[in-house]
């Protein structure tokens, strides 16, 4: 073998490594990505998660496999993502419970800020305030007035201690000065028969949960909790409009990964999510359950998560809400 041939081989090897090593990083994703859905099939996260998995998979060229890992109010599934290798192949879709759990639970298997990376907030959805049809209440102002005239007489439903419907209700009581008894259910859907029968007077419900009951007036929607009105109930005031200034409850959803994700992986996933959130057919699919796309950059998402964490921490502290 001649020196030239050795040299030629050397150059070939160098070239090969030079071209392949960035190619390895560029080639993410090179295998299917697992999207953890920390709740059982049938809920909003499950529905939105499967839609996102399908569109994201088509957009970034590798299948995105949705996997339900329910348990402990979303903690089990989130923990799977927090413990996964930071390679971008295990990510999780979560709702506000991810910022509520750390304040509410006495012990957590992971640290929200140390073990998780915010990849993007993907959607926003207000809650809708529903009241029993028998109640002489047609608006938020009337609910407050009725509540003040009948102190301690009303009940409000939730999906369990520390869930968004519970905390939204507590926030409402704190802001309005109304007193009412909190009655927890396993899910907000389970409470509707009792709302229809006026055993429960009001509830802060997800739009998806409320729609079947508000379309034929078995319960009465009176307000929504976003910063602006929702296209699902265009005639309903927001709670803010109704006089409780700054009252906002958002059932947002966000995609998270383990801490230490390489920047380019985060960027790539974020870009993929931003792109599909502009797809009209995905927007239409999300609108069916009252969810609107709301993509953010990773940094903006992270600061949103922080502000949501602070907001609910205060509500929990002010209401002295704790497992007891």
């Amino acid at each position: 073998m001649t020196v030239t041939r050795w040299f030629g081989l050397l150059i070939a090897v160098v070239l090969a490594t030079a071209t392949t090593s960035p190619a390895v990083a560029e080639s993410y994703p090179s295998k299917p990505i697992k999207l953890i859905l920390p709740y059982s099939p049938g809920g909003i996260i499950d529905y939105v998660g499967r839609q996102i998995a399908q569109y994201l998979g088509e957009s970034i060229g590798q299948p995105v496999v949705a996997e339900n890992r329910p348990g402990a109010g979303g903690i089990t599934g989130t923990d799977v993502a927090a413990r996964a290798a930071p390679d971008g192949y295990t990510i999780v879709l979560m709702d506000p419970a991810i910022v509520i759990n750390p304040t509410l639970q006495p012990s957590m298997p992971y640290d929200l800020f140390k073990n998780l990376t915010t990849i993007s907030i993907v959607s926003t959805s207000p809650e809708v305030v529903v009241v029993a049809p028998q109640l002489p209440v047609k608006s938020m102002a009337e609910l407050v007035a009725y509540g003040k005239a009948n102190p301690g007489k009303m009940n409000f439903a939730s999906a369990g201690v520390g869930t968004t419907p519970h905390l939204a209700g507590e926030l409402f009581l704190q802001r309005s000065g109304v007193t009412a008894t909190h009655v927890p259910y396993r899910s907000i859907g389970q409470s509707y028969p009792d709302i229809m029968a006026n055993k429960i007077q009001f509830a802060f419900s997800s739009i998806a949960g409320a729609l079947p009951f508000t379309t034929d007036n078995r319960v009465r929607p009176i307000a929504t909790t976003g910063t602006k009105r929702t296209p699902v109930y265009p005639d309903l005031q927001t709670v803010d409009e109704a006089g409780l200034k700054g009252f906002e409850v958002d059932l947002w959803l966000g995609v998270f990964g383990p801490a230490g994700l390489p920047n380019d992986v985060t960027t790539k996933l974020n870009a993929g999510l931003q792109k599909i959130l502009k797809n009209p057919s995905l927007i239409k699919a999300l609108a069916k359950v009252g969810v609107e796309p709301n993509g953010t950059a990773p940094e903006a998402g992270a600061s949103f998560v922080k502000s949501e964490f602070q907001k609910w921490k205060k509500v929990i502290a002010d209401g002295n809400i704790k497992p007891n």
């Binding site: 099939p41 049938g42 949705a66 903690i75 028969p193 029968a197």
Partner: protein, 499 residues
Amino acid sequence: MDIQSYITLGFSIALTVQNILYCFLGVFLGTVVGVLPGVGPVTTVAILLPISFTLDPVSAMILLAGIYYGAQYGGSTTAILVNIPGEASSVVTTLDGHQMAKQGRAGPALGIAAIGSFFAGCVATLLICFAAPPLAAIALKFGPPEYFSLMLCGLIAAIVLARGSILKAIGMVVLGLLLGLAGSDINSGVRRFTFDQAGLADGIEFVALSMAIYGIAEVAYNLEKKEVATQVARHIGRVWPTWSDIKLCIPSVLRGTTLGSILGVLPGGGALLAAFGAYTLEKKIASPPRRFGEGDIRGVAAPESANNAGAQTSFIPMLTLGIPSNPTMAMMIGALMIHGISPGPRVMTDRPELFWGLIASMWIGNLILVVLNLPLVGMWVKLLRIPYGLLFPAIIVFCCIGAFAVNSNAFDLYVMAFFAVVGYLCLKLDCEPAPLILGFVLGPLMEENLRRSLLMSRGDPAVFVTEPISLAFLVVAAALLLVVAAPAIRKQREQAMQE
């Protein structure tokens, strides 16, 4: 449109080649998962939910519904042949069904289960057609006090129907209630009885617990017997029951169907309570001679009719109110929402093809089940007529896979191992596990409804007797207790148990 044209519409939808195929696939899969211990309809429906996204909503519902009621058939097959309830609702079928199999009458047991189920299925389907709206209105009146009293009534029924000592049966119910409380308490958020184990945060997994007791513990118990003869009935006899069997069973099937149809409509009731209730009722009112627990064919006919009727009518609150009565129905609602349909009374008017197509497919599905299952009984038997030495490792393996599949969590296997030991002790000590299972299922629901009732009444326990429906259930419960406690009847009961 009148009801007749709606039914015609339903059949025109259900009888398309595509929908017959999905109906067949659904009931076949349902039977298979019903036969296989450890894989239930809930797991299967959950797994098939993503596949159903690609189908049109009517076909998706037909497929998923088929799995649910098909499993009621399959569950009874294993209950009778190997004494393992394929589904929780087949637990009571093991009592007399397996006794019949041991006496070489597995064939008639399977036959009457299929015939009773078919009859009940037809009646329940008709019932959905004609009575969905008024029945839904009744169930809608139920608040927390009514549910609490209903469940209390159900538990007392479970005690009454238990074999052997009443004291032990009460103990097992209470133990079941306690075990059911493990996990996060929804009223306070406190985690109870979790012993700092993340795997217990949502409580003891029902599949792991029931498989431990009915699968693993049974295996350990059976292996102790001197000759480890096959537990599968060797001789099944002719499948078609004799005319005298059928005549004996007609009232039982009618009672089971009626009770099952009513209990199925109630959320939280469903097929399980229906089967328990029907068996208890049968024990109390079937005309003598009674040999329940020892292979009385009426002890198969009544609960099998009831659980199938209950499985069918549990669609009523889901379809008319959008309220799930059990986890499978919750998933059905999820499947509908994925297709942009909000379950509720409007489904009947806005999407008549969906509502009536599904109803019509249920009737077709029941027909397929009978046609499929009576000849296939031979196949199940061949499949199960394997020496016990080869069969029991398979039972252990299926239980393991089933317990793991629910949450993909290794911890559930440790739970299953622990309760296998408990279940073994219960078998050794003559403590019947069925009341424990019922207590386990109803425990958290009862506590929730009790606490909810008291929250709403601001702490006044009188609410349970001032609500008329609740009071009625309590009166029935008290009557049942008196019946068992009365010395004369108790003596009779003990005598009946010893026969």
